[in-house]
């Protein structure tokens, strides 16, 4: 049996308040989940349930309090070198042009600029930004910046792609275009994807599997659904199919209660 690309084994994360060491907050507890090579897995859950925490653990940016992460069977220590991470907020270096941003990862990994440049240019063309290489991030629109980020991440050809609500800041049309683009690129390369979102529609439309997290604190998976919709999919069209509606209803039944719980907690805290 081949080891899964990414395996979380009883991961728990407890944060200690910096000002008051007695204050503890357990974001996630006992999270066990796997992403097989070439599989697209989404994690959905109410806001503040520790989805991003999980992703940071998977990237090796955050060390878990308990449990271990295994990457293709090997226990992860330090940064996850086989993973690419697409962040929720702006992550491009504002002092580099779009092209040089895409080149950054290749340069960091020791490629000569002369080798990195044609690769980066090819990736910019693939995300439909061929003519925008010399623009600085502030000269691009939000959707274009996201596409540069995508090219930046994928140019390194990572085996695992981690995505933290990458399209949440985009308008609905741009978002659907980007979702389709990501699906097309994924279908080409078949990488393992761990996709974090709070948007159930997005999760179902894109994934092979959807995992539902409970409301925080100490959130953990409470449901797992296999999405057996045919590929290739179009995220806009697929939402009208009966099977999609069925799945949506089934997952929402589980998620609904957690969302309400999370909302009630936020009200209490406020």
């Amino acid at each position: 049996m081949i080891a899964p690309a990414l395996a979380f084994d009883a991961i728990g994360c407890t944060f200690i308040s910096r000002d008051d060491p007695g204050q503890r907050y357990t974001a996630v507890r006992d999270v066990t989940l796997t992403v097989e090579a070439g599989e697209f897995v989404s994690v959905v859950g109410p806001t503040g349930c520790g989805k991003s925490t999980l992703l940071n653990v998977g990237a090796g940016l955050l060390a878990p309090s308990t449990g271990a992460v295994r990457v293709f069977g090997q226990t992860l220590e330090g940064l996850n070198r086989r993973a690419g991470y697409m962040f929720q907020t702006e992550s491009l270096m504002p002092w580099r042009t779009a092209l040089r941003n895409v080149m950054a990862g290749l340069e960091f990994r020791g490629q000569a600029a002369a080798d990195a440049k044609p690769k980066a240019e090819a990736w910019l063309r693939r995300v439909c930004l061929g003519g925008f290489g010399d623009r600085y991030p502030h000269q691009l629109s939000g959707g274009m910046r996201k596409r540069v980020s995508l090219a930046q991440t994928l140019a390194l050809d990572p085996d695992i792609i981690l995505m933290d609500e990458p399209f949440s800041a985009l308008d609905i049309q741009t978002r659907q275009l980007m979702e389709n683009e990501v699906l097309a690129l994924w279908a080409e390369k078949k990488k393992a994807v761990l996709f974090i979102t709070h948007d159930l529609d997005e999760a179902i439309a894109m994934s092979d599997r959807v995992i539902v997290l409970s409301a925080g604190p100490a959130s953990h998976p409470i449901g797992e659904f296999t999405v057996d919709l045919a590929r290739p999919r179009d995220v806009a069209e697929i939402k009208a199919t009966p099977r999609f509606v069925e799945l949506h209803a089934a997952i929402w039944a589980v998620l609904r209660e957690e969302v309400l719980k999370g909302y009630a907690q936020q009200l209490q805290a406020a």
């Binding site: 992550s91 950054a104 960091f108």
Partner: protein
């Protein structure tokens, strides 16, 4: 366009009015005495514009002997800025990235910064003599803190997401310093460029004024010693014009280097 022209005309008009006011108030015998008992006294205290411009004409054209002094002042300014910026950059980066060192040195930095550093000039003339060295040293102490605080701030305010992204792209510690911290810090240095070049100039001129054998500050000092107010005024005007030129040059350099920074009001280019 018409507005800009009008603005210029008003500005020139104001300059002309000030000149005429100066001329009428100081020329002996032009107006009856109402302030001073002797009609030469106004000229003695405030100088006469025609003689002042005559002096400037002699410096630049007739005798052409000011260029040597201007060059000395310019060299002092540039050296003070260069050394101050490099030290400030190095110290700022070091203290921002080494919290322990920063915690230990914090009170000393505060004390040095709040000390009126102009008062170090006499010590510097003892240490470095009356040549260029003491002026550069004084300028460096002024420039250093401006650059230092800006770099410190710049490093502290590097977006954590940009940093995490660079790490995920494979940047080593040195690469982070070179490709993330340094560009971010230099942007802060450039935003303070006008202030720091101005202070380097102040350091040079004040240093010369306190004791020297060449430089524009020295010319002023000499003239003051013989109560030659016209030459003092001429020196002040030359310094002002020179400072304006320096500032314009800084503005052009800044524009070229800070191309990547969004300017307020600039529309997004698509």
């Amino acid at each position: 366009m018409k507005n800009a022209l009008q603005l210029r005309l008003w500005q020139l008009g104001l300059l002309g009015a000030l000149g005429v006011f100066w001329y009428t108030m100081t020329t002996p015998g032009l107006l009856p005495n109402f302030m001073f008992e002797n009609d030469r006294q106004a000229a003695f205290f405030f100088g006469e514009p025609l003689k002042v411009f005559g002096r400037i004409w002699a410096w630049f054209v007739r005798d052409a002997d000011i260029y040597r002094h201007l060059a000395v002042t310019l060299v002092e300014t540039l050296l003070a800025f260069g050394f101050g910026a490099v030290f400030g950059l190095a110290m700022g980066l070091w203290l921002a990235l080494a919290p322990a060192a920063s915690a230990i040195l914090e009170p000393y930095v505060k004390a040095l910064n709040s000390m009126p550093r102009i008062i170090l000039a006499p010590i510097f003339s003892v240490w470095f003599g009356l040549g260029i060295g003491s002026k550069v040293a004084l300028g460096v102490t002024l420039v250093f803190f401006i650059v230092f605080f800006n770099v410190y701030q710049g490093v502290k305010e590097v977006s954590p997401v940009v940093l995490a992204n660079a790490r995920m792209l494979g940047a080593s510690k040195r690469q982070l310093l070179r490709h993330v911290y340094l560009p971010s810090a230099t942007s802060w240095v450039f935003s303070s460029l006008h202030t720091s070049v101005g202070l380097a100039f102040v350091g040079a001129v004040v240093g010369e004024y306190l004791g020297s054998s060449q430089g524009v500050g020295y010319l002023i000092l000499q003239a003051e010693g013989s109560f030659d107010i016209n030459t003092v005024m001429a020196g002040i005007l030359v310094l002002t014009g020179f400072a304006l030129l320096l500032d314009a040059a800084v503005g052009r350099i800044e524009k070229r280097l800070m191309k990547w920074q969004p300017k307020s009001g600039e529309t997004e280019k698509l």
